[in-house]
């Protein structure tokens, strides 16, 4: 209960910044959604790359949390599409992936990703911190 009241305050401060989570793994998605909502963000979710791009065009989020390995369209493909679309190009992307090969990270950077998180190496709280950091830069 305490936490909830705590997290309700940034809600106003952020003026409800919009976050889109594109992630096919239900538990991770649910946890991120919960955690970020508690922090007062306006959270939307998509369960594959295609749906993600569609929602991105609809809601114009302030930031995107993006998984890489997903059905229909991978995270890399999503970023490629975003690069082609001037409306989406500037939306910061934080990759949240299971893997973290330097080649993959480099590729994501080239495609405009701002940060890369390996799920097994980070806690949800650290994801929140990264989101905050990125939003501050806007």
């Amino acid at each position: 209960m305490k936490k909830r009241t705590k997290s309700s305050s940034p809600h106003k401060k952020h003026m409800a910044k919009k976050i889109l989570i594109i992630e096919d793994e239900e538990i991770v998605l649910g946890l991120l959604q919960k955690k970020l909502s508690q922090e007062g963000y306006e959270v939307s979710v998509a369960r594959d790359g295609e749906e993600g791009l569609k929602k991105m065009r609809e809601i114009k989020p302030d930031i995107v949390l993006l998984d890489i390995i997903m059905p229909k369209m991978s995270g890399f493909e999503v970023m490629e599409e975003m690069q082609k679309d001037s409306g989406l190009k500037k939306i910061p992307v934080i990759v949240v992936s299971n893997s973290g090969q330097p080649v993959e990270i480099d590729k994501a950077r080239e495609l405009g990703a701002k940060d890369w998180l390996i799920k097994t190496e980070f806690d949800p709280q650290e994801v929140i911190n990264k989101v905050k950091k990125q939003l501050k830069n806007l």
Binding site: K3, I27, L31, Q38, P102, K119, T120, P124
Partner: protein, 465 residues
């Protein structure tokens, strides 16, 4: 009686007519005289003749004797000759037998030769034999298949002549580079054909006869190995997804985001979280191993101060060291260390693996010391502990994948046996060396060195990655 035969004899001897002898009475006595003389003369003559005859007979007998003797001698010679002939016949037979034996022997040798040739021809491995002058002197069928050529096309050609043929080029380069001999070297001959090359010098006690090159097809092994690596990689990646879901769920529970929890609940959740962390680290080790095996391990090389890399790792272990009541020291060098070219993340992993072992296998009250020294051409790192040590008989296996010392397993049930394998591979990839000194019950010191490159060496080093 007497007269008649004499007359007859006389008549016979001189052929005088009977009328002449029967002349008148005076004439008779005279004739008688003459007759007697004649008789005497004849008698004498007869005696002489008789003598001559006996002489003749004697001579004849002598001659006969002589003849007999000669005949005997001849007979003997004949016998001797016959025996010689027999001997010759025997010899001839013996010679014929010998010739037959020799023919048999030759046939056997021929058979053996054919057998050997058939074996060589049908060997699953390819064989090439180069003679003293490095000219190709034998090619078996498998080698023909590997190189897609006919024996006649390449027989007798020298290495440099062979190098002109594109398919031979990689092999020739290898043979020219490794004159001392090759043992199980991989050679990617063409698409879908990987050979393992070994050479054997052909020598008798006295002289060098040339070189045998064995070409063993390991394409299948390589495919299986790749599949295995891919499988482990895939499995590890697949495992990561649920593991991170578990990790995050536990974290959120522990953080109280889903409501307050009791201290007992916290305790269990905390332990589960730690278990899960160990699982994650095992999976990470497995993935590192698959990357080593796929030969895509080192990534970004940067020029760094190794001291900073060590500090980062040491800091992350401070609490653990304190909790385990271990004395720890990092002896930094007095002089300034030159920067070295490393993959920072991987080098951190080496230090972490070595420090992790030192801390885990040293009992409370023990000591762990890290030192850094500058050598003539390298930087040497060492980490000394007063821990359990590595049993002598297990020391040579210490860098083997999945190997763990028996005493280490007793002290710490957890552990993948991959840490030192990974560390060795990382150090090797940096052109460094890793080694250790250890005595069971007294402690272990691990060392590694990383070369300091001059500018031009450095460019050369870089091209290898």
């Amino acid at each position: 009686m007497k007269k008649k035969p004499i007359r007859k004899v006389a008549k016979k001897i001189d052929g005088t007519k009977r009328q002449t002898i029967i002349a008148g009475p005076s004439e008779i006595s005279q004739n008688r005289e003459e007759e007697l003389a004649e008789i005497d003369r004849i008698a004498k003559m007869l005696v002489r003749r008789d003598f001559e005859l006996s002489t003749l007979r004697e001579r004849r007998e002598l001659e006969l004797k002589e003849l007999k003797k000669r005949t005997e001698e001849l007979e003997e010679s004949k016998i001797a000759l016959t025996s010689i002939l027999e001997d010759i016949e025997d010899s001839r037979r013996a010679l014929m037998n010998m010739l037959e034996d020799a023919e048999d022997g030759r046939k056997k040798v021929e058979e053996e030769k054919n057998k050997t040739a058939t074996i060589i021809k049908n060997l699953a491995d390819g064989l090439l034999v180069f003679d003293k002058g490095n000219k190709l002197s034998l090619v078996n069928s498998q080698a023909e298949i590997f190189f897609q050529m006919k024996t006649e096309e390449v027989m007798g050609k020298s290495l440099s002549q062979l190098a002109i043929l594109p398919i031979f080029k990689p092999l020739v380069e290898l043979l020219l580079k490794e004159t001392a001999g090759i043992f199980r070297r991989e050679l990617h001959l063409k698409e879908n054909l990987i050979l393992e090359i070994s050479t054997i010098p052909l020598t008798t006690e006295k002289e060098k006869l040339g070189k045998l090159v064995i070409l063993h097809d390991i394409t299948r092994e390589k495919i299986v190995e790749k599949m295995k690596t891919e499988f482990v990689s895939l499995a590890a990646h697949q495992l990561r997804t649920p593991l991170s879901a578990i990790k995050w769920t536990l974290r959120i529970l522990l953080d109280g985001d889903l409501g307050e929890i009791t201290s007992e609940q916290r305790d269990f959740l905390e332990k589960t979280y730690q278990s899960n962390e160990r699982m994650i680290s095992l999976i990470n080790d497995l993935l590192d191993v698959t990357r080593i095996e796929e030969g895509r391990y080192l990534s970004k090389l940067t020029l760094v101060n190794i001291e900073e890399v060590i500090n980062l790792v040491v800091n992350s272990y401070k609490d653990e060291i304190k909790r385990r009541k271990i004395k720890f020291e990092f002896k930094k060098p007095e002089e300034k260390m030159p920067q070295i070219m490393v993959d920072v993340e991987k080098m951190g992993l080496v230090v972490q693996n070595l420090l992790d072992n030192a801390v885990h296998y040293t009992r409370p009250g023990g000591e762990v010391i890290i030192s850094l020294n500058r050598g003539a051409k390298d930087i040497e790192f060492s980490i000394k502990d007063t821990g359990t040590g590595i049993p002598e008989e297990q020391q040579e296996r210490i860098f083997t994948k999945f190997f763990r010392g028996t005493n280490a397993i007793k002290m710490e049930a957890e552990g993948s046996g991959l840490g030192l394998f990974i560390a060795k591979n990382i150090i090797d990839a940096h052109n460094g060396k890793i080694w250790f000194e250890s005595k069971q019950g007294e402690g272990t010191t691990f060392y590694f060195n990383i070369p300091i490159y001059e500018k031009e060496e450095f460019t050369e080093f870089l091209t290898k990655f």
